[in-house]
């Protein structure tokens, strides 16, 4: 418990006497039905967490199979067709079923109302619907992938995807359905931010995680319809020879790429912006500092969300688009880089004159900083038009997006899992194992993808089942790194499962954080707050000694 902090005095007083009337959301109804039909944002978040972890496991197993196959040139454990299906499955599961919903649907769902002092999200039933829509889409996708599989890669490039005999249509239909879940969640969060803020929480007092989720939701609502439309068009073309993208029927294959990246480039920010938000919370909590440049970080989220819509052409520098287009998209790509740089500088600046407690989530913050900086910088290099010519579609690109998009997201996902574990389940995990596995994962991630940067530099294209022998040494190194990574994840699975069952009670606020979500109980009761309207501290993460508090105007 936090002694003498404004958090404890604020509105938490009556909780002891009401304890029996207001059990935690985990035990308020223990039947399966009470979980499956719940409209509680916290339970929905936990159900999302369960399935997202399941899909992460599936995607991870396929990643390991790919790495083992690439140990030697030529066939190692599978044939070319199986390999092509495996990398497609890996990409689709990881992107559509894990990364896009990972942080918003689990932690966004759980934390957003807590951080805004609301009882729930604005549309609780829509929230539950979005969970079942997600599951339905996932079932379609997995059914299509297992029942025949598809070999187009997650990008579905036409005209290959309209020629191939594999099961493109059901998988794309699955992606189409999942899109609705994404849109529903996005609308829900936007409305929640606008209408459900507790008295006193103005826009610029919202925690930065809320800002990030808000920006993400805007992208989801605006961009997802385009991929929905596109998947329908490709499925129709595949089934009925529609002639939209296939030049043999008068279509335009490059049109597909424009529409695809118009969604999929912003989708990168759907994945990574929530990660940025999580890290803003974590760096504040563990260094006991208000975020350095709060407004700069908040505005840069919106900046990334906006400019991110106009950078899609950098995926197509060598696709035959005009030189003029390459120039426009090249410049806009650099602007996205600047927004990200602002965030990085402000996170590092937050530590300045802080009080760092090096706990597991902070270890993931270090990893996150590393992957964001190096992944971002290789992104700038790739956005430099002429450098992209040799790099395009090589392992350099694979390594780059695994650093910035996957690395940053996984670091943030694991950091939030640890940071909010006490909040969600009221238990503590073993700190020592936490640090060990964090070290293993960060090392493993580097050992996996740094060789891939180099092998890409050396000229190895992506999606290669077979490769010239000169690429072998680096591929072996990458596979070795991947096994280290897998080992790290196994450790986490073990101690977190243990902590869930046998973990010690964490108390209300084990990190002594002054983030808004810690104002409520841990785990919170069903309607989050009990008694009269809670009041929130002046601003989130305010760690100044109250006696000498004198707040200058933030930039």
């Amino acid at each position: 418990m936090t002694p003498s902090s404004s958090l404890d005095t604020a509105g938490a007083a009556p909780h002891d006497e009401h304890h029996d009337d207001h059990p935690s959301y985990l035990v308020d109804g223990t039947t399966i039905k009470s979980w499956l039909l719940t409209v509680d944002h916290k339970r929905i978040g936990v159900m999302f967490l369960f399935f997202i972890l399941l899909f992460f496991l599936v995607g991870g197993i396929f990643a390991m199979l790919l790495r083992v196959e690439l140990l030697t040139p030529g066939p190692t454990i599978m044939d070319a067709m199986t390999y092509n299906r495996t990398f497609t499955l890996h990409g689709l599961v990881m992107i559509f079923l894990f990364m896009i919903p990972a942080i918003p649907a689990v932690f966004g769902n759980f934390m957003l109302p807590l951080m805004l002092g609301a009882k729930d999200v604005a549309f609780p039933r829509l929230n539950l619907a979005s969970f079942y829509i997600y599951l339905t889409g996932a079932v379609f996708m997995l059914w299509g992938m297992l029942n025949g599989g598809l070999d187009t890669g997650w990008t579905f490039y036409t005209p290959y995807s309209t020629h191939t005999t594999t099961t493109v249509a059901p998988v794309m239909f699955g992606a189409f359905i999942i899109g609705f879940s994404s849109i529903a969640t996005g609308i829900n969060f936007i409305v929640t931010c606008h209408t459900m803020r507790a008295p006193g929480i103005t826009w610029f007092k919202m925690p930065l995680f809320v800002w990030a989720i808000y920006a993400t939701s805007c992208i989801q609502v605006l961009a997802t319809p385009v991929i929905g439309l596109l998947t329908v068009l490709v499925a129709v073309e595949n089934l009925f020879s529609f002639g939209m993208f296939d030049p043999a029927r008068g279509g335009d294959p490059v049109l597909f790429q424009h529409l695809f990246w118009f969604y999929s480039h912003p989708a990168v920010y759907i994945m990574v912006l929530p990660a940025f938000g999580v890290m803003s919370e974590i760096v504040s909590t563990y260094s006991r500092k208000n975020i350095f440049g709060y407004r700069a970080v908040a505005y840069s989220s919106l900046g990334i969300a906006f400019v991110g819509f106009f950078a899609w052409g950098h995926h197509m520098f060598v696709s035959g688009q005009s030189t003029f287009d390459a120039g426009v998209f090249g410049v806009l790509t650099m602007l996205v880089g600047v927004f990200t740089a602002i965030k990085v500088f402000n996170w590092v600046g937050t530590v300045y004159k802080g009080a760092v407690d090096f706990k597991t989530p902070f270890a993931y913050f270090c990893g996150f900083l590393f992957f964001t900086v190096f992944g971002g910088m290789t992104g700038i290099a790739l956005g430099t038009v002429s450098l992209d010519v040799p790099w395009h579609d090589t392992y350099f690109v694979v390594a780059h997006f695994h650093f910035i998009m996957v690395g940053a997201t996984i670091m943030a996902f694991l950091a939030s899992l640890h940071y909010w574990f006490p909040k969600m389940f009221g238990k503590t995990y073993h700190e020592g194992w936490g640090l060990v596995s964090a070290a293993l994962i960060i090392l493993g991630f580097n050992a996996t993808f740094i060789p891939q940067f180099l092998v890409g530099n050396n000229g190895m294209p992506r999606r290669y089942y077979d490769y010239p022998e000169r690429f072998q040494a680096l591929n072996v190194a990458s596979t070795a790194g991947a096994s280290l990574l897998a080992f790290g994840f196994i450790i986490i699975a073990c101690y977190l499962t243990y902590a869930l069952v046998f973990g010690e009670a964490s108390g209300k606020n084990p990190w002594r954080s002054k983030g808004y979500e810690w104002v409520s109980e841990s785990p919170p009761p069903t309607h989050n707050f009990v008694g009269p309207q809670v009041t929130f501290p002046e601003e989130p993460h305010f760690y100044v000694d109250p006696k000498k508090a004198e707040v200058p105007d933030a930039v």
């Binding site: 990008t155 060598v318 009080a355 290669y464």
Partner: protein, 348 residues
């Protein structure tokens, strides 16, 4: 120095003029970003230690950046990023704008091989012969799905699109054999879609091409993998003339400059045409190809949209042959030899 950096970065051998430009910028960008990133990282690590927590509920100062600090955060990266963009875009424009004196080679990707055709013959599969120190313009297309023509040693790459031509050029600096890889996923044997570029000194190239045009079988070690796939050696112009007759082009397009249902082929290439929507277009390989595949897309002003599409009726090499035939009918004098170089003035 640059050799050492290339080895550290695992860059492949550099064997074209573009490779030299790219590598220079590569060193600049990678060097600067790595140093800056390491700087940020070390500063962070130092602060993690310097500002470690001493008491559990330690209070901290309220620090916010000044406008000047935020301005620095924005402007320093912006200046570097824009500088790199500037250099990169200049080089990109350079590599997508072939010089006037470039030699043309038609490249066609199909699942899962590369075909090469010289305007004056011969055609080849999976082996491209070019002279050293001479600009070569590649006119790239695909017969089925997307492919991408990538030569790591030259640092060039361009997608091959069905029904369209894309172009890129290179000037090889060292004789030798260089691998070509397909970098756009194209199905089952994507990773086996390999070819090679054989760069010969000019004299040897001249001998080679003369032998080829005489129809002599190759006796080199890197002989064609599958000779059955190689069409008979012929000038593309001759093939094109035959095709223009058999495919019915000449029913509407005259070859003596007279007016007919469609624009005359004489002097068509490199002409600036006024379109029916008021825009103008310079007739190049891409436009001629598009007009065969999708005749109504850019209609020349004054003509009816009556031409049928040849999509699916003409294969990549046949399209290329007709393009070559039209290129040979340039005014004022109808050209005899192979076509050379692009139709426009390169950007310097």
């Amino acid at each position: 120095m640059s050799e050492l950096l290339n080895n550290l970065l695992f860059l492949p051998e550099s064997a074209s003029t573009f490779a030299e430009r790219v590598d220079l910028l590569h060193h600049f960008v990678v060097g600067t970003t790595m140093v800056m990133s390491a700087g940020v990282g070390l500063a962070a690590l130092f602060m993690f230690f310097r500002y470690r927590r001493r008491i559990p509920d330690q209070a901290t100062e309220y620090v916010v950046p000044t406008l000047k600090t935020e301005f620095l955060f924005v402007s320093v990266p912006l200046v570097f990023f824009l500088a790199w963009f500037g250099i990169g875009f200049r080089d990109f424009t350079w590599v997508t704008t072939p010089p006037k004196d470039a030699m043309d080679v038609y490249v066609m990707g199909k699942q899962w091989m590369w075909k090469f055709a010289y305007p004056e013959g011969p055609n080849g599969v999976n082996v491209l012969h070019v002279p050293a120190n001479r600009p070569v313009r590649l006119l790239i297309t695909s017969r089925d799905v997307l492919h991408s023509f990538y030569v790591p040693a030259f640092r060039i790459k361009m997608d091959a699109l069905p029904g369209r031509y894309t172009q890129i050029w290179f000037e090889a600096t060292k004789p030798g054999t260089y691998q070509v890889l397909c970098t756009e996923y194209c199905g089952l044997s994507h990773s086996k879609m390999l070819a090679e570029v054989v760069v010969l000194p000019q004299e040897e190239y001249d001998v080679w091409i003369k032998d080829q045009r005489r129809g002599r079988l190759q006796d080199r070690q890197d002989a064609l993998a599958d000779t059955s796939l190689v069409p008979p050696v012929a000038r593309m112009v001759d093939q094109g003339q035959v095709l223009a007759g058999t495919q019915g082009c000449l029913k509407c397009h005259s070859v003596d400059g007279s007016a007919h249902i469609g624009p005359t082929f004489v002097g068509m290439y490199d002409r600036v045409e006024k379109l029916d929507d008021g825009q103008t277009i310079r007739v190049d390989e891409a436009y001629i190809t598009q007009s065969m595949m999708d005749p109504g897309a850019h209609l020349v002003s004054g003509y009816q949209n009556v031409m049928p599409t040849y999509q699916g009726k003409l294969q990549g090499p046949e399209t290329a042959a007709i393009v070559e035939y039209i290129k040979s009918l340039r005014t004022p004098n109808v050209r005899e030899g192979a076509s050379e170089g692009p139709a426009y003035d390169p950007i310097q």
